[in-house]
Amino acid sequence: MMADEDRADELTAYLHHVSVRTALLSAMLAAMALLMIYFTTVGPYQISFWDSLRAILDNDGSTEATIIWNLRLPRVVAAVLVGAAMGVAGAIMQCVLRNPLASPFTLGVSNAAAFGAAVGILLLEGGIVLGQSVTTILITNPYVVTGSAFLMALVAIGTIVLLVRVTRISPEAIVLTGVAISSVFGAGLAALQYFSNESALANIVHWQFGDLGKINWDQNLILLAVLAAAALFFFLKRWDFNAMDAGDEMASGLGVNTDMLRIASLVMASLLTAVAVSFVGVIGFIGLLAPHVIRRLIGNDHRFLIPGSMLLGSLILLVSDTVGRNVGDMLNWFFASGLPSFVIPVGIITSFIGGPLFIYILVRGYRNVDQG
């Protein structure tokens, strides 16, 4: 009788373990929803939280509703979608390549997609450059631009997969290969800049840093559709990813077709990267940061790692973008200075936060290994 109770306790402990993680993800989801509403209140035109919520629920044509639906909400939604896309793409790449340093940014997939998108805009007539200002590339045909970006992203990830399969290179060497791939596509982008006119050049430079300011509802919808399809695929395969964590042989022994899963997952992750980069430019480190932090919080179980990386990626990008577009006002408030308002592209903010934090995670990780 006592033994039966003990064994029931093990099951209870496991179910508790699962429910704690589910609760954490639910809390993150709730925090994200609240922040989404709150960040639509932040900006030069003051809107209260409740007015914002009312305008989101009822687009009645008022000034508040117009500002929120036309300017702020597309940007906030883009932050959530792009952050989720980068977060989940990083988590999946790290799993199927068995490389903790893998992400769209570190493997050069983001830069490849950026080059592809630039080719789509400038050479394949997928977009037009407006005026002489530095902020206006208009994507007229998102399918040409994202298709071209996807093609180049596939070239980058295909190179990585080929090298992994043929030479069995180390995880560190894979990342160095990513640096090389980034350089090659960076050079391609530089060549495009060299042969472009001045305004196009300025736009490409600006766009390389990643900026959510130019996205519109149509692009958000495309991003949402691709993200939903990819997330559904990844979530359906969550147990297969868990099996792959233990190694290819173990996963194959459990009935997982590891080669097919690896290729399908990397194609999906590349598609996510390509679409996100096409619309908002290169935003680095989210794909590294989000999965690493979630792993430390709740472990490697992909049931939680996949949604967790998406949610944390969204939260990081949401906060970073709001900080970026209000950084002048924040500095003025903090230092009581009289600086003019200015914005910083979110890609710069994520690199400022992500670079040092990632080094910290790496150092902490290696120290743990040494002590272990």
Partner: protein, 264 residues
């Protein structure tokens, strides 16, 4: 329950690793495959569980060609425990539960969870079920992997050197667990091993491999100094120990002639 290799041959890049293997394994028995490094033991195991497709010959499971089964169907019949396992930041419970993958639909059912709990109990790891596998010892990890193999529910377990990285206590604990699994569940267990004496004490039948071929097979009594000399190319003394043969290295090395027992 039987698994049969018929005229099995496999090679890497045109270099043959196993050639013309004819073997049959039955339920309720433990088979140990022995032989020097590079003899083709692991390759044979991978062919037996469908991870490698043989160049010639075939593997049948209860008379059915293994290559005609999907990977998932094969996983329901044959469980493979590789030598290398990457311990990640996952709980012991989840590590065992993933063994139910070939039977899962959308996710684990209540009975999958109960089977996992029972298997953890069978290998004496109840108290460690919520620990992370990257924080437990090698012996505990091996027990978790045996529990995982149990929950997979296959009638054949194929294990690649399950005792090679374990200390003496955990080696014996592992083979005892396997023996219990065979007795209680009637599964056929095929494993590669390096320790001839351990294999002789826990197996019903031994298969010696040399240069990709079967050198000898039979009960532990087939171990003789001539056989070991033929397969491994070293001199050993084979003595009787409680009815089982024990292979002891002959007088070699710097301590030869001073204390033979210490060199064993």
């Amino acid at each position: 329950m039987s698994i049969r290799a018929e005229a099995l041959s496999f090679g890497y890049n045109g270099r043959p690793v196993i050639e013309d293997i004819e073997l049959e394994f039955h339920g309720d028995r433990i088979y140990a495959i022995l032989g020097p490094n590079g003899a083709g033991k692991t390759t044979l195991l991978k062919c037996l569980c469908g991870l490698l497709r043989p160049d010639q010959g075939r593997v049948t499971v209860d008379g059915e060609d293994l290559s005609s089964l999907t990977r998932m169907e094969a996983a329901r019949r044959i469980c493979y425990v590789p030598q290398r396992f990457s311990a990640t930041h996952t709980t012991v419970f989840d590590t065992v539960l993933i063994g139910r993958r070939p039977h899962m639909g959308w996710g684990p059912s209540r009975s999958d969870l109960e089977l996992t709990r029972d298997a953890l109990g069978a290998v004496g790891m109840e108290s460690l079920s919520m620990r992370y596998v990257d924080e437990i010892s090698g012996g505990e990890l091996q027990r978790a992997l045996i529990a995982r193999a149990m929950v997979q529910g296959a009638r054949t377990m194929v294990l690649d050197e399950p005792t090679s990285s374990l200390d003496l206590v955990n080696q014996h604990r592992t083979v005892r667990l396997l023996a219990e699994a065979v007795r209680s569940r009637g599964v056929c267990t095929v494993m590669t091993m390096h320790d001839i004496n351990l294999a002789a004490s826990c197996s019903d039948e031994l298969v010696f491999m040399k240069d990709g071929r079967i050198a000898a097979r039979g009960p532990p009594a087939i171990i003789t100094s001539e056989l070991i000399a033929d397969v491994y190319g070293i001199e050993v003394d084979v003595i009787d120990h409680g009815g089982l043969p024990r292979a002891l290295p002959a007088h070699t090395g710097p301590r030869a002639g001073t204390d033979q027992r210490r060199s064993v």
